[in-house]
C-alpha cells in the first residue's frame, strides 16, 4: 500500500496522515494549529495512531520506555509482531535491557574522537561535489539532489568500506522504507534488489575476504563480540542496515533545510561569513528549527494505564514522536518560531532524548557543519531559484527535508 491510496486529510486533529503530500508541504503549520487546538491528535489510519505535538509530551514519551516500546519506529499499516525487545534493527528497535547491549557495541565507533577522523573525508567529498556542481557554469543548481544528498552517502560508504557507487542502491532502499512505508513487500520487488540481499552479500563478501586491521564498520562488527560470543549475522546485517537507513536521508535533509533557510536569509549568510564562532550555535539552531526526524513508538503489550498529556491510549496503539514539532513549542523555547543563529539556550530534541539519543549525532553534526562551511566558501551568495519558497519539494513520511531545491548562484569563488 502506498500513500497515494489514502484519502486526503480534512481534519488533522482526528484523522491525521503524516504520509500525505499535504503534510510534507505544511507540517510546521499543522503542528502549530494542533498545538493550539488539540495537542494530542489521533487517527484511525494505520490501525490507530497518536500525534502529540507539545515538547513536554514528546520528551515524556521518549523517556518512558516502560509504557512505550520501540518495537515499531516507522508507522505503517503493518504492526510488528513479537519482535520486542530486540527488533529488526537493534538498537533503534530494541527495548531495555537488550537495548543497552546493542547500543554500547556501536557507541565507541561514533564517539567524537573517532568521528573527527572522518572530517577530512567529508570535507573532500563536499569539495568534489562543489567542483562538479560549478564545472559547467550553470546559474541554477539543485542543492538537494546535486549536493546535500551525496554527502552522507559517500561518507557512510567509506565508513562501511563498500564502494561509493553502492550509494545509488542505498537511496532506493531508503526511499522504499521511509517515504513509502509498507511498500516493497513480497512479490513487489525481486529479492536481489532488496536491502536484505545487499546486506547479506556485503557481510558474506567481507567474511570471505577479511580485512584485518581495517577500521571499517563491517569489519568492526564482524570482529566484535557480546559477552565473548560473536554477533549473529542477523545482528550484523540489521545494524549495518540501520546505519544506512538512519544516517543518510536524515543528514541529507538537515543539510538541505539549512541551505533552504540560508538561501532566504542574506543576513544569516553574512553572519556566518563574518563570525565563524557562530557556527557551533548555528548548527544546533538549524537542527532545532528544521529537525528532520519524527520517530514512533508502540504502546507496549499489556499496558493498561498509559496516557499522553491526559489522553488515555491503549496497548498496541502507534505513537508518533515529532521531535521537530517539540522543537517549535513556544513553551520550551523563547521565540520558538524565529531562527536565531546564535541562540544561547537550546535544549533541542533533533537527535531525540533519553536512551535512544541518536548514535550518529556527532557524525551528523560534523557533516552538517562541513557541508555548510564548504558551500559558503565556494558559494557565499545564493537565493531560491523559484520566487515561491514553497515550490521546493519536501519529502513525505517521518524524515522531513527538501528533495528538490533549485538554487540560483549569485556569487561564486574559485578554489582557494
Amino acid at each position: 500500500m502506498t500513500d497515494t491510496t489514502r484519502p486526503p486529510v480534512t481534519d488533522w486533529a482526528t484523522d491525521f496522515d503524516h504520509t500525505r503530500p499535504e503534510y510534507a508541504e505544511s507540517a510546521p503549520e499543522i503542528w502549530e494549529q494542533l498545538r493550539n487546538e488539540c495537542p494530542v491528535a489521533h487517527t484511525d489510519r494505520f490501525g490507530g495512531a497518536w500525534l502529540p505535538v507539545r515538547h513536554e509530551d514528546v520528551a515524556a514519551i521518549a523517556r518512558d520506555t516502560e509504557h512505550f516500546s520501540s518495537e515499531g519506529v516507522i508507522v505503517n499499516d503493518f504492526r510488528p509482531v513479537d519482535l520486542a525487545p530486540i527488533g529488526y534493527a537493534p538498537p533503534i528497535t530494541s527495548d531495555p535491557p537488550f537495548h543497552q547491549v546493542a547500543r554500547r557495541l556501536l557507541l565507541p565507533a561514533f564517539a567524537p574522537k573517532q568521528i573527527d577522523r572522518w572530517e577530512p573525508v567529508a570535507r573532500a567529498t563536499c569539495q568534489e561535489l562543489l567542483d562538479e556542481l560549478l564545472a559547467d557554469g550553470a546559474d541554477v543548481v539543485d542543492a538537494a539532489a546535486q549536493y546535500a544528498q551525496h554527502i552522507p552517502v559517500r561518507v557512510i560508504a567509506d565508513m562501511l568500506g563498500v564502494p561509493r557507487e553502492d550509494g545509488d542502491k542505498f537511496r532506493t532502499f531508503i526511499h522504499r522504507i521511509l517515504e513509502v512505508p509498507g511498500s516493497g513487500g513480497p512479490g513487489e520487488i525481486e529479492y536481489e534488489d532488496t536491502l536484505d540481499y545487499y546486506l547479506d552479500e556485503a557481510v558474506k563478501e567481507r567474511r570471505a575476504n577479511p580485512r584485518p586491521g581495517s577500521d571499517d564498520l563491517i569489519t568492526y562488527l564482524i570482529e566484535a563480540d557480546l559477552d565473548g560470543e560473536p554477533l549473529t549475522d542477523d545482528h550484523i546485517t540489521g545494524t549495518i542496515g540501520l546505519l544506512i537507513i538512519a544516517g543518510i536521508d536524515t543528514t541529507w535533509s538537515a543539510i538541505g533545510s539549512s541551505l533552504w533557510h540560508l538561501a532566504q536569509r542574506p543576513d544569516h549568510r553574512r553572519q556566518l561569513v563574518e563570525d565563524p564562532d557562530v557556527m557551533v550555535f548555528a548548527v544546533e539552531e538549524l537542527l532545532r528549527a528544521y529537525a528532520p526526524v519524527t520517530m514512533a513508538r508502540i504502546v507496549a503489550e499489556g499496558v493498561t494505564d498509559a496516557e499522553i498529556g491526559g489522553c488515555p491510549v491503549k496497548e498496541r496503539d502507534w505513537v508518533l514522536l515529532p521531535f521537530p514539532a517539540a522543537n517549535l513549542d513556544p513553551e520550551a523555547f523563547e521565540d520558538a518560531d524565529q531562527v536565531i543563529l546564535d541562540r544561547q539556550r537550546n535544549r533541542h530534541l533533533a537527535f531525540g532524548v533519553g536512551i535512544h539519543r541518536c548514535i550518529g549525532s556527532n557524525l551528523a553534526r560534523m557533516e552538517l557543519r562541513v557541508g555548510i562551511e564548504e558551500w559558503m566558501k565556494r558559494i557565499p551568495d545564493f537565493e531560491l531559484a523559484a520566487d515561491d519558497p514553497d515550490a521546493v519539494r519536501w519529502s513525505t513520511g517521518q524524515v522531513r527535508g527538501p528533495r528538490e531545491l533549485p538554487i540560483r548562484l549569485l556569487s561564486t569563488n574559485e578554489v582557494a
Partner: protein, 64 residues
C-alpha cells in the same frame, strides 16, 4: 560556582564538551566527563552556564 554532572541522566548528546571544552571531555563512548573538581574558575562561569543551558537531558546543574 560548582558544577554537578549526573552521569545517570547523561545520554552523550555532547553539547557540553563542544560548548565548554575546558570543563567537559568525552569518554570513549561519548558520555560526558567533568574536567574540574571544586570551584569553577571565574573565567569559565559563562561556559559552565552555557553547558548547563544546552544539555537536553538536564544532566548538568550549577550551584552558586
Amino acid at each position: 560556582m560548582q558544577l554537578k554532572l549526573d552521569s545517570e541522566a547523561c545520554q552523550g548528546h555532547g553539547r557540553c564538551y563542544s560548548l565548554a571544552p575546558d570543563l567537559f571531555d568525552s569518554d570513549d563512548e561519548g558520555y560526558a566527563v567533568l574536567k574540574v573538581t571544586g570551584d569553577v574558575p571565574d573565567a569559565l562561569h559563562d561556559a559552565a552556564r552555557l553547558a548547563a543551558d544546552n544539555c537536553p537531558e538536564f544532566a548538568i546543574t550549577i550551584e552558586e
